[in-house]
């Protein structure tokens, strides 16, 4: 016989299991933590521009901008390896923005993390829906 208490416990178990997939992008979180050295990352301060829907994941145009930033790193949390690129801006840079084209293996979030000259970090993310993935195979 199943008591009410047991039913509640089972419900809790299901809830725990459904919460676990949140750590699916742990590789991206780890890569970002390795880049920031574990420092706190605040939202905002960075603008990341990408198409809402990318038909071809082989070449997705993205732009990042972070006024005053020393560096901007880009991560794709659904790719086999999350790291995409790191831009370091030198003294002769005319702005703190850059554009490039990236590969996305599927629909996922693209994250830009800006390193400010004072050592703090700021980030922004954008979701890109990918119709055809760009990781070959």
């Amino acid at each position: 016989m199943i008591t009410r208490r047991e039913t509640m416990a089972m419900g809790l178990g299901v809830a725990t299991i459904t919460l676990l997939p949140i750590s699916a992008n742990a590789a991206a979180d780890e890569a970002i933590a390795a880049y920031t050295g574990g420092a706190a990352v605040s939202e905002g301060g960075v603008t990341i521009t990408a198409p809402e829907i990318a038909e071809n994941g082989n070449t997705v145009p993205i732009s990042v901008e972070a006024p005053g930033a020393a560096e901007i790193a880009i991560y794709a949390d659904g790719n086999p390896t999350p790291g995409v690129a790191v831009f370091k801006f030198g003294p002769a840079a005319g702005s703190h923005r850059a554009s490039t084209r990236i590969r996305l293996g599927g629909t996922q979030d693209v994250v830009a993390v800006a390193k400010m000259p004072d050592g703090s970090f700021q980030q922004a993310a954008v979701e890109v829906k990918v119709t055809i993935g760009g990781c070959g195979g």
């Binding site: 082989n58 070449t59 997705v60 732009s63 794709a76 790719n79 086999p80 390896t81 790291g83 995409v84 690129a85 790191v86 831009f87 370091k88 801006f89 030198g90 003294p91 002769a92 840079a93 005319g94 702005s95 923005r97 850059a98 554009s99 490039t100 084209r101 990236i102 590969r103 996305l104 760009g134 990781c135 070959g136 195979g137």
Partner: protein, 108 residues
């Protein structure tokens, strides 16, 4: 690799003290090292892993590239125009090959 060919577009004319938009593209397969050939063997990674642009001896941008950058890497950024004319672009490939191209800004 012999098929690495940089293409660079600078503004037609620039003025000192203003930002100049630069567009660069280099022909390169950017092999990720994740793909397999018809026999199931992994194709080894061969990418441009670093790109730099220097202007008047100072760094403009120093970019680290991963396999997630598309084939024929395209990069767009701005230079703060000063006195100098020469802009030096350098691409670093896996395996140590380095490709350099120097362009001149046209003041107008």
């Amino acid at each position: 690799m012999s098929d690495v060919k940089p293409r660079i577009r600078l503004p037609r004319s620039v003025k000192a003290g203003q930002a100049a938009e630069v567009k660069t593209l280099v022909s390169h397969v950017m092999e990720t090292g994740l793909r397999k050939d018809a026999d199931g063997n992994t194709i080894p990674r061969m990418i441009i892993n670093r790109f730099t642009c220097e202007y008047g001896g100072e760094m403009v941008i120093d970019m680290a590239l991963e396999g997630a950058i598309s084939a024929n890497p395209y990069v767009e950024f701005d230079i703060m125009v000063g006195e100098a004319t020469d802009v030096v672009f350098t691409w670093y490939e896996d395996g140590g090959a380095v490709y350099t191209q120097t362009e001149q800004l046209a003041f107008g």
